[in-house]
């Protein structure tokens, strides 16, 4: 067995050897053909191998191509050559050593055993020598001549002869004297190396194997490569790959059998299949892996979520409260009445869980709905659309806007000091005299009264009859005249409150000889002296809802919300004449206002407020409330701001410099706002409504244009419930507010 293996090995190596022998020869030829002869010679040994590489390439391609590539090759050369020589070296040595191993055994003539003297030298030296020789001349075996030249002749033939064969020269090789058995045994006992020694019958000499050689033999016996460092599984280099090279190794077409399923194989397979089916062939069961393993290894590497869409985790189930305990405290258990009352509720509103009490744990029964509840939860988990909803966890106080403290904004009206009683029906309208000494009020009982503010004394009463819509004091302090709108008429009354001199002037002003009948205007307004009440009566064609004095006290505007073009009339007291406004109105007018300092006129319709320049007779601005119905307007004494009250209880503050939309909308009242008012000097304004409340606000307008007005609600002045407040007016000097209620009382609120 041992012999066989070694023989095979030697055969293999010799073959290699032969092929290698040829290669260098070929390489020698190639340089002759090429022009790089000198270069290759200079580079010496290594270059020979390089040449070998080149040669192979030349086989594949034409000579011309090589010429072109040469420069590149040279650059690559050092690397390639090194690798190659290393490989080559090992092969050479292996070759040599194998010869030694098998020296006496193989009958191959070319293989020659090493001389006895060589064998004694150390292995390392041997190798070195061998490779030098190998490098110098490729046929290293030639130098060590085989001693015996008998070749294939069996050695038995020489058994009885004196010699064992013939050397190169043809002389007989004499047999050496043999030690006898005993001697051999004794020497073997003494010598530890004796087991490594054997007799080479062929050459008739004793050979001793070195340790390395023994190792090599062992490796071969195990079926491994003789050298540990040789890699049998080196990556395969397909030198004969022709793909892309243009020339296949063989141009023969693929044989047909390669495309046809093999019948014999099919037979075999069907046999196996049958056997497997019938259970004649059984397989080993696959090894069972542990069902569970460490699924989450190191969490730090994994990202938050791998999925593209945002994952919405299901909401956690509600945690139980005290009432769900098996033994809740008594107050959590509903009484029988309450349980009965649940029956009256809608099914959705009915409580899902009715607490019950068990006095001990053993008496608690199984919960019937458990399975059903879990099922409902399962359905929720996979059937309910999930939406991420932001849970607001905010302090409700933080929602409120930061406003200055009302007590820092004093003075403002807070408490009711005086009630003016005398009217017998709802007080519709009030007006303060410009000095602040008097107020006038009109009521649905048909009377107009003038009160002294400080004492609450009723100074004068006029029985006007029919419904009074509006009263307005003349703004001039020396002209205590009162304008009252009664149904279709506007009365201008002399109150008789001024000094004698003033009285005379007023009498002159109100004196009228005969009714003026101007063409055109006469149909609309007719001026008549009213003897009964001692003033003027301006007859309109329809009822007048609102009147407003100009700041100079000469002009008076009246709103008649019926006629298209005649809806607003402007009367001039000094000339006793009336005129229409020269603007087209859009919709029914609600109220009007004069600008406190300039000749600007405000007209509010139900939807919006229009601002006109009276001198230029054109529209300046249109203010949109975006609310349903405007009920009243008031202009800030500065003239750039105004408030608009609406019938849905909202209050709009317009900053006319800022925009045509409200700067702020305050939802104050729950019912219609009946009137709004600005204070003439204090930064205050008020609104009153049919819900029985009057609000007082702080409304500061800064002279700095960059600063927005500051609006702070200050106070709710609560009237009697259910009775609306129909009018409110500020005292012209003091921060006091008059309100007129439908309970026929006028109230004064002071600070």
């Amino acid at each position: 067995m041992e012999l066989k293996v070694s023989k095979k090995a030697t055969m293999a190596t010799t073959k290699k050897k032969n092929s290698k022998k040829e290669k260098p020869e070929n390489t020698k030829e190639i340089p002759k053909n090429t022009e790089e002869k000198k270069n290759t010679k200079k580079e010496g040994k290594d270059n020979k191998n390089l040449q070998k590489n080149k040669k192979e390439k030349k086989i594949r391609s034409s000579l011309q191509k090589i010429k072109l590539r040469d420069v590149e090759e040279e650059e690559k050369a050092p690397k390639n050559s090194k690798e190659y020589t290393e490989g080559g070296d090992s092969e050479h040595t292996s070759g040599d050593e194998v010869h030694v191993n098998a020296g006496g055994v193989s009958s191959n003539g070319t293989i020659v055993a090493r001389a006895g003297s060589d064998a004694n030298t150390s292995a390392n030296d041997d190798e070195d020598n061998s490779y030098h020789s190998a490098e110098e001349s490729d046929s290293s075996e030639d130098e060590v001549a085989p001693r015996n030249t008998v070749g294939e002749v069996p050695l038995e033939f020489y058994r009885d002869e004196e010699h064992i064969g013939y050397d190169v020269t043809g002389k007989k090789i004499k047999k050496k004297e043999r030690k006898d058995q005993l001697e051999r045994f004794l020497s073997s006992v003494d010598d530890k190396k004796s087991w490594r020694r054997f007799v080479d019958e062929y050459n008739d000499e004793e050979v001793e194997l070195t340790k390395d050689e023994i190792k090599m033999i062992r490796r071969i016996m195990k079926g491994k490569t003789p050298h540990a460092e040789a890699d049998p599984y080196a990556p395969y280099v397909d030198w004969f790959d022709w793909e892309g090279k243009g020339h296949p190794l063989s141009n023969a077409p693929e044989p047909k059998r390669r495309f046809i399923p093999s019948k014999s194989e099919a037979k075999k397979i069907s046999k196996y299949v049958r056997a497997i089916r019938e259970g004649r062939i059984t397989f080993d069961k696959p090894k069972e892996k542990p069902r569970f393993y460490l699924l989450w290894g190191d969490d730090s590497s994994s990202s938050e979520k791998t999925r593209g869409l945002s994952y919405i985790p299901p909401p956690k189930a509600k945690l139980p409260g005290h009432e769900e305990a098996y033994n809740p405290s008594l107050e959590f258990i509903p009484t029988q009445e309450e349980i009965n009352s649940y029956q009256l509720m809608y099914e959705e509103d009915r409580p899902k869980f009715i607490p019950t009490r068990y006095t001990s744990l053993r008496s608690v029964p199984a919960y019937d709905n458990f399975l059903r509840e879990r099922f409902a939860r399962c359905l929720d988990l996979y059937l309910c659309p999930r939406v991420r909803k932001k849970r607001l966890n905010i302090d409700p106080e933080s929602l409120k806007t930061k406003l200055p403290e009302p007590k820092d904004l004093k003075p403002y009206p807070t408490t009711c000091y005086i009630e003016y009683k005398g009217h017998t029906d709802a007080v519709v309208t009030i007006s303060t005299e410009s000095s602040g000494q008097w107020i006038a009020s009109g009521s649905t009982d048909g009377t107009v009264r003038v009160w002294e503010v400080a004492t609450g004394r009723c100074v004068r009463v006029w029985e006007v009859g029919s419904d009074i819509r509006h009263v307005a004091w003349n703004p001039l302090p020396h002209q205590p005249i009162l304008a009252v709108s009664v149904d279709q008429d506007v009365l201008i009354l002399d109150t008789g409150l001024g000094s004698e001199e003033q009285q005379g002037k007023i009498r002159d002003l109100l004196r009228m000889e005969k009714p003026t009948a101007e063409s055109g205007e006469a149909a609309i307004v007719s001026w008549l002296p009213d003897d009964k009440l001692g003033g003027l009566r301006l007859k309109h064609f329809k009822s007048v809802t609102s009147i407003e004095w100009h700041r100079r006290g000469d002009y008076l505007s009246a709103v008649i919300p019926a006629g298209e073009s005649r809806a607003i009339m402007i009367h001039q007291l000094s000339k006793k004449g009336s005129q229409r406004i020269p603007f087209k109105l859009h919709g029914l007018p609600v109220s009007t206002a004069f600008h406190p300092s300039r000749s600007i006129f405000f007209i509010s319709t139900k939807k919006n407020v229009r601002v006109y320049d009276l001198l230029k007779e054109k529209l300046i601005k249109r203010l949109d409330t975006n609310l349903r119905e405007v009920s009243c307007i008031a202009v800030h004494p500065g003239g750039d701001n105004m408030i608009v009250g609406t019938r849905e209880g909202k209050l709009c503050w317009f900053d006319m410099d800022l925009s045509s939309t409200p700067y702020k909308v305050l939802k104050a009242h729950s019912k219609d706002i009946t009137n709004v008012a600005f204070h003439r000097s204090y930064p205050l304004f008020a609104s009153c409504s049919e819900d029985g409340k009057a609000y007082v606000f702080h409304g500061m307008v800064y002279s700095d244009l960059n600063k927005n007005p500051l609006i702070v609600p200050l106070r709710i002045l609560q009237e009697q419930k259910g009775k609306g407040v129909l009018d409110c007016k500020f005292h012209p000097r003091q921060p006091w507010l008059f309100t007129a209620g439908s309970d026929s009382v006028i109230k004064l609120y002071c600070h």
């Binding site: 107050e331 009484t335 408490t415 200050l714």
Partner: protein, 578 residues
């Protein structure tokens, strides 16, 4: 180009392209509805709410990305294969080809859900956060009757029971249980694992009834997923405490239905072993057979659990709360009566560091053991009583655990109606109503904090309790005195105010002038303003904010109404008792 016009070839966009209805999805995936449902459950896909519902309000909408996510899952293909195989099997049976049918059945394609779990929960924390439903479901199925021919296979029930015990064993071993609550529905537990609060309900140990109106297909699909999830979670948790998973149990204890006890013993021994191994040479753990294990732990060894606790103390990574939980029942030894539900108590008491035994086979120690401090009994009367121990009802354990102090046992004595059981999940202050017993517990807790109970032997237990109670009584008295004082001072102030009013408040009323209101006290007017102020600032809010404010207010009112109802009931009860 008008908005509604889309040129030919241009894809849909917006909600129409993003969302599909369920029937569209099923059609697109080419699966049956049951399979679609199954896949949705397993992959955790849920319908979404598009802003614009193209196909109408009554449809459910899925996101197209979700659907394509389903579409790419290999499970869909496997299920198609299974369906095909089923058809083949049916055909084989109907052709009387039984061997083929059997063979085909053997080679049915199989699947597992491991991949889905890591896909749905890339981090372990995510899995823990989503474990509530899983645990409740597993505990429910563990309590279902193991009957053949029912809709639920017995193997599911067994595996659920095993999984739930494994989970409980881990929780009690690592002392991670925080809150417990016996409700009518079952027993709520809350544990804190890796900072995740996990709450689950275990039904009462009475067998559940299978109802007809439940679709078990859906339930079982969920269960299949949950079983896998919980097993992997358990594996990870056991791995974190160096215990092999799945645990091998003492068959004797298992047979006695003391699984939980067996498991905790196993864990204890295992982690101990692990330490030993680390110190000594590494022995391959798998070589340890069940027999060896049994040999190592003689079943009658009473100290096994004690070892467990001692050992746990060496773990230094535990946080404050865990330490507190671990040492709650450190000096107490429990014995359970036959009628007491064993599993929940075994779980809770060991989780809080107590030693426990029970009446029956496999118990670590006998009823006559003199070192027992508490015997838990749930019967009207107890015949034979040891004087050295307290006889209490099971609720005492749960209340003590929630309060984190050892409560006095007087109220829980056998035969008495125990005090009301309170939910630990309710924040009484936020709710606005504090039950009486909660106040009492609070006082006891404060007392315990002020005067920590000295660690004394069992025989001194009663003494210490008395001391605690005395302390509490003192505290209560002190509180009362303080209250009285406050009332007195308030009364005095009122009196002074009235006097002041009388002195200053008189004002002349002449003619029609009428003093409606006189504000003499500046404080009072300020108060009034403050009370009015909120209403005023509400006016200046924007509409959105006002709505929000309004809804908060309404919610508060609703809450208050509920509290009012409870309080009125309480008043009625008190009156009727008088």
């Amino acid at each position: 180009m008008p908005k509604h016009y889309r040129p030919a070839g241009k894809k849909k966009e917006g909600n129409a392209a993003k969302y599909v209805t369920r029937s569209q999805a099923v059609k697109g995936l080419q699966v049956t509805l049951p399979l679609f449902r199954k896949m949705c459950i397993w992959k955790g896909i849920f319908p979404r709410d598009p802003k614009k519902k193209i196909k109408g309000n009554h449809q459910t909408y899925y996101h197209t990305k979700d659907i394509s996510f389903l579409h790419h899952d290999p499970l869909v293909d496997i299920h198609r294969d299974i369906r095909a195989q089923d058809k083949k099997i049916k055909k084989a049976y109907s052709k009387k080809n039984k061997p083929r049918a059997v063979r085909l059945e053997e080679h049915k394609p199989t699947y597992n859900l491991d991949r889905l779990i890591i896909e749905r929960y890339p981090r372990f924390i995510d899995a823990l956060g989503d474990l509530d439903d899983c645990l409740t479901m597993v505990h429910l199925f563990a309590a279902l009757p193991t009957l053949q021919n029912e809709k639920v296979e017995v193997k599911h029930i067994h595996s659920c029971r095993r999984l739930s015990h494994e989970w409980q064993a881990y929780i009690s071993r690592t002392h991670k249980l925080r809150k417990t609550f016996i409700s009518v529905k079952g027993i709520y537990y809350q544990a804190d694992v890796d900072g995740q609060k996990i709450t689950w309900i275990a039904p009462h140990s009475i067998q559940q009834v299978l109802t007809e109106d439940v679709d078990f297909n859906v339930m079982l699909t969920f269960l299949e997923y949950y079983e896998t999830l919980l097993a992997f979670v358990n594996f990870k948790l056991y791995h974190s405490i160096n215990v092999k998973y799945p645990p091998m149990l003492d068959p004797r204890l298992e047979a006695l239905a003391a699984d939980l006890y067996a498991l905790s013993r196993y864990i204890a021994s295992r982690s101990k072993e692990q330490d030993n191994h680390e110190l000594a040479s590494q022995v391959d753990e798998s070589q340890l057979t069940l027999a060896q294990l049994q040999h190592q732990l003689a079943p009658s060894e009473p100290g096994a659990l004690m070892h467990l606790i001692e050992e746990a103390e060496t773990v230094d990574e535990a946080d404050e709360e865990t330490k507190e939980c671990r040492s709650l029942f450190k000096d107490t030894k429990f014995f359970l009566g036959r009628e007491v539900p064993r599993e929940p108590l075994l779980f809770v008491i060991t989780a809080f560091g107590g030693t426990i035994s029970w009446e029956g086979d496999g118990a670590p120690f006998e009823e006559s053991d003199p070192s027992i401090t508490h015997q838990i009994v749930d019967r009207p009367t107890q015949n034979h009583m040891f004087l050295s121990r307290a006889y209490i009802q099971p609720q005492w354990v749960f209340d003590s655990v929630n309060a984190r102090i050892i409560l006095p046992t007087e109220d829980y004595v056998v035969g008495r109606v125990p005090p009301p059981h309170l939910s630990p999940f309710v924040d009484n202050e936020a709710e606005g109503y504090i039950p009486d017993y909660a106040q009492k517990i609070k006082q006891l807790q404060d007392a315990a904090r002020i005067m920590p109970v000295p660690e004394v032997g069992n025989e001194h237990q009663d003494n210490t309790q008395n001391i605690v109670l005395d302390g509490v009584a003192d505290r209560i008295e002190a509180n009362k005195a303080a209250e009285m004082k406050k009332k007195m001072s308030a009364g005095q102030k009122q009196f002074h105010d009235e006097l002041k009013m009388e002195v200053e408040g008189v004002s002349p009323a002449t003619g029609t002038i009428k003093n409606v209101k006189v504000t003499t006290d500046p404080d009072e007017s300020d108060k009034e303003q403050i009370s009015e102020h909120p209403d005023m600032s509400e006016m200046t809010m924007s509409r959105r904010k006002r709505g929000l404010y309004e809804s908060i207010r309404i919610n508060k009112e609703r809450k208050k109404a509920k509290v009012d109802v409870i309080e009125s009931r309480k008043r009625n009860i008190k009156e009727s008792q008088k």
